[in-house]
Amino acid sequence: MRKLWVLSLKEVLLTVRDVGALVMMLVTPLAITLVMAAAFGTGGTDAPLESIPVLLLNQDAGTMGQALVDIFYSDALGDLVTPELVTDEAAARTRVDEDDVAALVIIPADFSARVFPLGALAQQMAGVDVTRITSDTVLTQEQQLQLGMAFFQSQDLTKTDPVVVEIYASPDWRISSAVVKSIVSQGLAMMNTQIAGTTNILTRLATAQSQADAPSGDFAQMAGVFQMDWGSDGAQTAELPIKLHVTSSTGRRFSWLSYYASSLAVTFLMFAVTTGGRTLLAERRQGTLPRLLITPTPALAILLGKMGGVILTGVLQLCVLWGATSLIGAYWGAPLSVLLAIPVIVLCTSSLGALISAWARSPGQAGAIGAAITLIGSAFGGGFVLRWSLPLWVQYASFVTPAGWGIEILGRLQAGQALDRVLPWLGGALALTAVYYGIALVGFRRQFN
């Protein structure tokens, strides 16, 4: 046991004294994480998805809430989403928690009144739903007068805090919930335009009524003049008092910084570990391995010590990257869960390094194979693009490399999943580890003999 420890510490010491290795293990992933987070920081993602199940809880009695609901039922989104109106909030949240649906959109009770107080007053005073007025609409003189009064009264209303539309998303439906968020965002933006346009027309109507030389004509005619249709480009936009609040059953939100912090850490762990595995071949070439083999130390202990050093170095690498990226705002998951996941991911990755070094013929060949597998595995696993935006077959294929498991596990922890839900994935990584180490041992026996 003591010799295993000594061998492992020697490996760590040799690695930390290698400036080139440190740059590859720590500096490069940190730098690329920052660049990627800066590039994708505000971006979203798209995916070839269809029939995304989404629950709509409309607590609003007004027209604006219904308008938002209608967007989900529009023909344009018919293939993309499968909306379902619900009334029981607790039951709906449970369905999200159970991954039954991608997300729940909660429209609050006072949504219309707070988003568009002028519309609410117009409904109340003139009995007119201004959101449904078109150039064909005919209003009486009395209704036009009431609309003007409604406009002036709305100016006296005190501004309140933004109304919150909550999207309660499932961490397992990352892309789908991102799509739902995008639909709600676009719907709200459209409402913004509508409200601004309507307000514009009502402003002109009210002004006309207050001035003797104002042009005559009814509201509907003016609507035609100013092309006031919902979604018209002619309408001016203004800041909408709506706040979109995306939550999940785990309370975590997606962040590119966090995603790239962990996925690139896994990618560069693979680089480092395949390099580490290569050292066995390098030791053979420089004569230190034969010298080790004629000390009173069993060959298996030498192998375990070497791999122990690789694993220890990998754990240190991931911990340093975890700490460093956390300082700049990345979130890797609940600390205890991450602490458990890191050794498993490193162990899994080390098995690939062992496999390569057991069967490669030279350090150069091991390095080339290791780099190729790292790049391909990382591309399939989501090291460079969002894993969950990749086709399913690619995601499944990535499980033949540690990158697939590592990025999946850390992604789930980032989404705030509890350890018990991540355990099956940790088990999968360990199964791959066992398979790779088994094949590696056959190769090592061949080499040592």
Partner: protein
Amino acid sequence: METAALVEVRSLFKRYSPSTPYAVDAVSFEIHAGELFSLLGPNGAGKTTAISVISTLLEPTSGTVSVDGHDVQRDPMAVRRVIGVAPQELALYDDLTAQENLRFWGEMRGLHGAELAQEIAEKLALMELTDRAKDRVGTYSGGMKRRLNLAVGLLGRPKLLMLDEPTVAIDPQSRRYILDWVKKLREQGVTILYTTHYMEEAQELSDRIGIIDHGKLIALGTLDELTQLVGEHETLRLQLLQEEGGANLAAALQSIDGVIKASATDGEVLVNVTSAEATLAAVIGAATGLGLGVRTIDIREPNLETVFLHLTGRALRD
């Protein structure tokens, strides 16, 4: 009275694959406790293969090898506990200091604590490396690395120290240092298996010498015993003015009365003769006849070079 054999090699055969010739071919010898035994032979003769089998790194194809009563195949760990090896390659970690290297290799030999600390200090002092103990080995000269390589082999006070070509590729000063150090070890009673292709080293250091060529042990004995194999013969060493032509001269000399064997290498011709005085004129005449100029001629008493020439028909450096 002869001491007990510490190393016994019996009918050792080793080849790396069935399609290759034997690297070690029917080799048998013993090394007695306290003895310095040299395996002398040209590069590729099988010296390192033999040492690799004795040190348990390679398994013999057939034959038996035992060290301190332990069979290398049946009980390799017991053998490893009593041997120390300084391999021909500098098997050190350049990114560790000398002290760290010694500590690591000491731990691998099972040493630790105060015992290891004492050994490290001793070995550093012995090799005159104490002042540079905390410098990384990568900053050392070739000679310093070679000394540290030897120091690692000495860790744990092995019963048998195997030195595989310890003076290869180093400067004359470091070479002299190492040879003096080996002599001191011999005086201290350390049993040493020394391999070299330098005849002078084997002559200077060894109690007994085994001459190995093409995997076969072609002669074995003390220096006196080996030189007696050549009889009273002498050796003429001719240095030619030309680089080329030595081989033609060697071939021509074979037909001269009194010439036993002749070989050529690098503008030099070695001629094994029954009497230098009787054959000198004929030898020079043969060179002149071939249009070759002779820069120097010296006459040598029988030595290991002569023995090798006598046994193989080739110079040791061929």
